[in-house]
Symmetry: C2
Subunit: 174 residues, 2 copies
Amino acid sequence: MGTTGTEVEQGGVGLDPAAKKTVLRHFSYGLYAVTAAHGEERGVFTANWVAQVSFDPPLVVVSVEHDSSTLGLIRASGRFAVCPLREGQKDLAGKLGRPRQRTGDKFGAFDLATVPTLTGPPALADTLGFVACTVVSETPAGDSVVLLGEVVEARVLGEGEPLTMRAAGFRHAG
Amino acid sequence: MGTTGTEVEQGGVGLDPAAKKTVLRHFSYGLYAVTAAHGEERGVFTANWVAQVSFDPPLVVVSVEHDSSTLGLIRASGRFAVCPLREGQKDLAGKLGRPRQRTGDKFGAFDLATVPTLTGPPALADTLGFVACTVVSETPAGDSVVLLGEVVEARVLGEGEPLTMRAAGFRHAG
């Protein structure tokens, strides 16, 4: 049993950074391609801070870092899609995690096949499928923004098991 | 490749319920005990709609159904704790998922050992640890409420791998 004591600092309650990191690294995540489009521009990035949050209506949250270039497209269009990646797509998850400032349009740079959706955001053909969402609300969350989206369209595109952070060997900072 | 066509209904965009369910079931989750206390009352429930959403400051979201009896304790105290369950704690996850209206105080009913925290919510001793959070904001989300919490205390309580929905054999409704 590794018990790391929580330290009391400055006469108050202190947050032990090592314990915080260790416990937050025990949170489990899948890996997803999140997409958006506005006008001629389209964006895609790898996300793991994703969860459903309501059954009825079906709602999901996605946390997006402020410096994501896709965030502007989501805000301009009011839409995004979430495509769960498949087992074995670790390399794709790595590529889609690169900043667009370096890669240019990732759809072209990585030769990504897309499936048109009825509601706007491009879906990646080589994933398990997509849910397309309209943005219901946006909540500031430190270095990121939590987008709450209502699922308005869904389609199954492939079969298999979803890729997880653990299976990919990715470890988030915690 | 199972491609389920999205149906267009009533002249507009239709949401295919079967595709929506299939894709949302490809989302990956861990399993957590979420706790809160206010006065003499304490509550705990099993959650899977949990994610970190910011590194700096460290923020997490937890989606809680409106009819959760622990939600009142979280609101009254402004605090909650998230304890990642360990591999093999499927039975505990099942027990903590029962409504308190049926079980009574779950800490007594299931003989749960707790660890006192400096910030209020009781932590379950037999878990990987806890992050205790202050509620930063609350967002209505259909049948649930999305709580955004800032991590103010953390402690490691055990070693091992986290329990996932998949490993537990739990399948959420999607």
